[in-house]
C-alpha cells in the first residue's frame, strides 16, 4: 500500500463542518456599511447612555486613521468595511423572561449546537449566555447567581443596569484605540457578556457563553468584560460556531478581564467558527483582542484556548501582571487544516515583583495550512524575581503545511528567569502503525495521538468542555495522515 498515507491524509483533512446550518428566524438589520450614523443607530437601538455613545464615536474617529496590522504571518485578503452589516438582531421579545418567550427556531438552533438551555441549567449547573449575531438571547441560572451578588448578563443589560461598573472598567484593559480591530469593535460592538464577581465570592458554576453567527453579510462584534473583585473566583467558558457560507465573515471581538487582589479568573475558549471549505473558500476571519489585567497582588488570570475553526485567526490572549506576585497562564491548542491560517499566541507583561507566567502552546498543522505561534514575554525593570516558562511545540501532519514560532523575549532586570523551549515534530509512522496493528482505524489513531499531544492543554479545560474539545480536535483533523 504505497502512499496510502497521503490518501488518508487527504481524507482526514476533508471532513465536513457539522455546525454549518442556518436558522430561519426573523432578523432586524442595520443598513450596510459603517459611518457615524450607523454608530448612532446602534447606540440608539440599544438605548445607551451618553458615555457609551461617546466611547463608540471616539473609537470610530481613531479607527478611521488606523491601519490593519501587517506584521502577522497571515495572508489577509482586503476587507471592504462598507460591505458589512454591523448590526443584526434576531427579532425576539425584548429580553425574554422565560424560555417560552424565545423563538422556538432559536431554541432549536441551540439544541443543534448541543446546548439545550434548560437541560444545561438543570443537569450541568452551567449558566449559559447565548449570543446570536451579537445579541444576547437568554441567560440561565440567574437566580442562584443573584443570591451571591454575582452579575452575569448580556453587555446591553449591564449597560442599562450597572452603568457605573461598565463605565469604570470598559476599555480599562483594552483601550478603545488599542489596535485596528479593537477600535472597530469599540465603535460597533452590539452585545456580549458581562460578569462581575463580588469580593470574596467563589462562583459556584461555570459561566458560559455560546456565540453564534447566523445572518449573512454581517460581522460579529461582541464585547466581553469580566471583573473579579478581591478574593473572587470565576471560571468562564466561551464556545462559538457559524453557518457554512462562501463569503468570509468578520468576527472582531474584545474580551477584557480585571482581577483584583487575590482574585482568580479562568477563561476557556473552544473556538470552532466555520473554517471555510477544503479549497479555502469562505470561513470566518477571527480577529480578536483578549487581554487580562492582574491588577491586584496575588491575582491570577488563566487563558485556555482550543482553536480549531476560522479561516484566519489573529489572536493573542494576554496578561498584564501588574500586581506583585500575580500570575498569568496561557494554554493553547491550535489546529489548522486545509487552507486555514492562524497567527496566535500571547503576551505576558510582567510589571509587578515576583510575578510568574507560563505559556504552553501546541500547534497542529495539516493540509496546506499555516500555523504560527507568536508570543511576547516582557519583564519590566521593576518586576524583580519574576519567572516565565514557555513551551511551544508544533506538530506537522503532512508536508504541505507550515509551522512557525516567533518568540519575543525582553527582560529588563537580572533577578528574573525566562525559559523558552520549542519543538517541531511529525506524527510518526511507527506510532500510527502501532495503533493500527491494535485494530484502531487511522482516523481514531490520529485523534488519539493528537489528543495525547495536546493533553497538557486539554486537561486545563473545565470538564464540561474537555470531552467536546477532544472530539473537535479529532474531527478537525479528519483526513490528515496515514
Amino acid at each position: 500500500m504505497p502512499n496510502d498515507k497521503d490518501d488518508i491524509l487527504n481524507e482526514i483533512t476533508n471532513s465536513d463542518y457539522k455546525y454549518g446550518f442556518v436558522t430561519n428566524i426573523e432578523t432586524e438589520f442595520a443598513p450596510k456599511g459603517l459611518s457615524e450614523d450607523i454608530i448612532r443607530y446602534i447606540s440608539r437601538k440599544k438605548d445607551e447612555p451618553d458615555f457609551l455613545l461617546d466611547f463608540r464615536l471616539k473609537a470610530y474617529q481613531r479607527w478611521k486613521e488606523m491601519q490593519h496590522p501587517q506584521w502577522a504571518h497571515l495572508d489577509i485578503p482586503p476587507i471592504d468595511y462598507q460591505d458589512i452589516i454591523y448590526y443584526a438582531a434576531p427579532k425576539v421579545n425584548k429580553g425574554p423572561s422565560s424560555l417560552d418567550k424565545v423563538d422556538p427556531e432559536l431554541l432549536s438552533t441551540f439544541e443543534k449546537l448541543g446546548i439545550p438551555l434548560e437541560e444545561q441549567k438543570r443537569l450541568t449547573g452551567v449558566a449559559v449566555d447565548a449570543v446570536m449575531d451579537s445579541i444576547s438571547v437568554k441567560t440561565t441560572f440567574q437566580e442562584t447567581l443573584n443570591k451571591l451578588g454575582i452579575i452575569f448578563c448580556s453587555m446591553s443589560e449591564a449597560i442599562r443596569h450597572y452603568p457605573d461598573l461598565v463605565k469604570l472598567y470598559l476599555g480599562s484593559v483594552v483601550p478603545y484605540a488599542d489596535n485596528f480591530y479593537a477600535a472597530l469593535n469599540s465603535a460597533v460592538f452590539s452585545d456580549g457578556s458581562f460578569v462581575y464577581i463580588p469580593k470574596g465570592v467563589r462562583c459556584p458554576v461555570e459561566l458560559s457563553t455560546y456565540f453564534r453567527i447566523n445572518a449573512a453579510k454581517t460581522g460579529q462584534f461582541e464585547r466581553t468584560l469580566i471583573v473579579a473583585d478581591e478574593g473572587a473566583y470565576v471560571s468562564y467558558m466561551e464556545g462559538c460556531t457559524a453557518p457554512m457560507r462562501d463569503e468570509n465573515q468578520l468576527h472582531a471581538a474584545v474580551v477584557e478581564i480585571v482581577a483584583l487582589k487575590d482574585a482568580e479568573v479562568k477563561y476557556s475558549t473552544v473556538q470552532n467558527w466555520y473554517p471555510g471549505d477544503r479549497e479555502g473558500k469562505g470561513g470566518i476571519y477571527n480577529f480578536v483582542t483578549k487581554r487580562g489585567l492582574c491588577k491586584g497582588s496575588y491575582s491570577k488570570i488563566s487563558w485556555t484556548q482550543v482553536e480549531t475553526g476560522s479561516a484566519i485567526t489573529w489572536k493573542y490572549p494576554s496578561c498584564i501582571l501588574q500586581g506583585d506576585n500575580s500570575r498569568g497562564e496561557f494554554y493553547s491548542v491550535t489546529v489548522t487544516n486545509h487552507y486555514q491560517q492562524a497567527d496566535t499566541g500571547t503576551k505576558m507583561i510582567h510589571l509587578g515583583r515576583n510575578t510568574s507566567s507560563i505559556i504552553i502552546s501546541k500547534g497542529i498543522s495539516a493540509g496546506f495550512s499555516n500555523n504560527s505561534y507568536r508570543g511576547l514575554v516582557r519583564v519590566a525593570k521593576k518586576a524583580e524575581n519574576s519567572r516565565n516558562y514557555s513551551q511551544c511545540d508544533s506538530l506537522l501532519l503532512g508536508d504541505k503545511c507550515g509551522a512557525h514560532t516567533f518568540p519575543y523575549i525582553q527582560v529588563e532586570n537580572k533577578s528574573s528567569i525566562v525559559e523558552h523551549e520549542a519543538t517541531t515534530s511529525k506524527i510518526s509512522d511507527d506510532q500510527l502503525f502501532y495503533c493500527k496493528q491494535r485494530g484502531i482505524d487511522t482516523e481514531s489513531a490520529i485523534g488519539l495521538i493528537v489528543n495525547g499531544y495536546a493533553k497538557e492543554v486539554l486537561k486545563q479545560l473545565p470538564m464540561e468542555f474537555a470531552a467536546e474539545a477532544q472530539k473537535l480536535l479529532a474531527i478537525s483533523l479528519e483526513g490528515s495522515v496515514g
Binding site: 500500500m1 502501532y434 496493528q437 495525547g452
Partner: protein
C-alpha cells in the same frame, strides 16, 4: 489451516531480505522461529502484520482462507492478528486505558458488536491484568511512555490478553527480560493458549522455550528457513550455537 505462507520473498528499498519462505501454522500450534540477528525475523513478522515499508516481490500469505496481503493493517488486527513488537513505541499523553478501549471497540465494531461500556471495559482490564500478573500502575500511564524495557514487553503481553488474538506473533518479547519478567511473558502465552488460536514466537534464545513449549521450531537464516524440527531442535541449537547452522548451510 490458520496461516499459510507460500514462497514469500520480501525486499526493503530494493534489497531482498526474505528469500523464499514456506510456513504453515495450524490452530492450536506454537511455532518458534529462531535465528541470528539480521536474518529477517522481524521483517517476516512485520509483513504478516502489514507494515507498509516492505515490498512483497513474490509469493503469498493466506490467513483464514483469505489473501492476507490485500488486507489493510487494521483489518488484519481485527481479524485476529496481533504483533508483540520488538521495540514498542511510546505514545505520549494517551492513557493505556483509552488506547485499549479504542482498540477493543474498533475491533468490536468490525465484528458487528456493541462497544463495551465503561464498567465492562474496566472489569475486563482488571481480569486481564491479573491473568498476566501486571501491576495496576502500568495501565494508568501513557502508552509505553517512560516504561522500562521489561515494562514495555509486559505491556505487550497485557495488550495481547486484552485483544485475545487468533494469531499472535511475539517478536523477541523475551529479549532483555529478567527471569521473573520472562515467566510473566511465558505464563501469558500459556494461559491465552486455546485450541483455536496459534502463536509464532520469535526468539533469539532457547531460554523462553523452557516455559513455552513449541510444537515446531524453525531456524531462519539469511532470509530462509534452513531447518525445521520439534522442540529438541531448540536445545540442539542452544548447545551447538548458530555457527553450526551457518556451516551446515554453507556446506549445502
Amino acid at each position: 489451516m490458520l496461516l499459510q505462507i507460500k514462497n514469500l520473498h520480501v525486499a526493503i528499498q530494493g534489497k531482498e531480505i526474505i528469500k523464499g519462505i514456506d510456513l504453515v501454522v495450524n490452530e492450536g500450534e506454537i511455532h518458534a522461529i529462531m535465528g541470528p540477528n539480521g536474518t529477517g525475523k522481524s521483517t517476516l513478522a512485520s509483513v504478516i502484520a502489514g507494515r507498509e515499508d516492505y515490498e512483497v516481490t513474490e509469493g503469498e500469505i493466506v490467513y483464514k482462507g483469505k489473501n492476507l496481503l490485500e488486507m489493510p493493517v487494521e483489518q488484519r488486527a481485527r481479524e485476529g492478528i496481533f504483533l508483540s513488537f520488538q521495540y514498542p513505541v511510546e505514545i505520549p499523553g494517551v492513557s493505556m486505558a483509552n488506547f485499549m478501549r479504542t482498540a477493543l471497540n474498533d475491533i468490536r465494531k468490525y465484528k458487528g458488536l456493541e462497544p463495551l461500556s465503561g464498567s465492562e471495559f474496566l472489569l475486563r482490564m482488571e481480569e486481564k491484568k491479573q491473568l498476566v500478573e501486571i501491576q495496576s500502575q502500568l495501565t494508568n500511564r501513557s502508552v509505553n511512555e517512560g516504561f522500562s524495557g521489561g515494562e514495555k514487553k509486559k505491556n505487550e503481553i497485557f495488550q495481547m490478553a486484552m485483544l485475545e488474538p487468533t494469531l499472535a506473533i511475539l517478536d523477541e518479547t523475551d529479549s532483555g527480560l529478567d527471569i521473573d519478567a520472562l515467566r510473566i511473558v511465558a505464563n501469558g502465552v500459556n494461559k491465552l493458549r486455546r485450541p483455536d488460536n496459534a502463536f509464532i514466537v520469535i526468539t533469539h534464545y532457547q531460554r523462553l522455550l523452557n516455559y513455552v513449549i513449541p510444537d515446531f521450531v524453525h531456524v531462519l537464516y539469511d532470509g530462509k528457513i534452513v531447518k525445521s524440527g520439534k522442540k529438541e531442535l531448540a536445545l540442539e541449537l542452544e548447545e551447538k550455537g548458530y555457527e553450526w547452522i551457518k556451516k551446515e548451510v554453507a556446506s549445502l
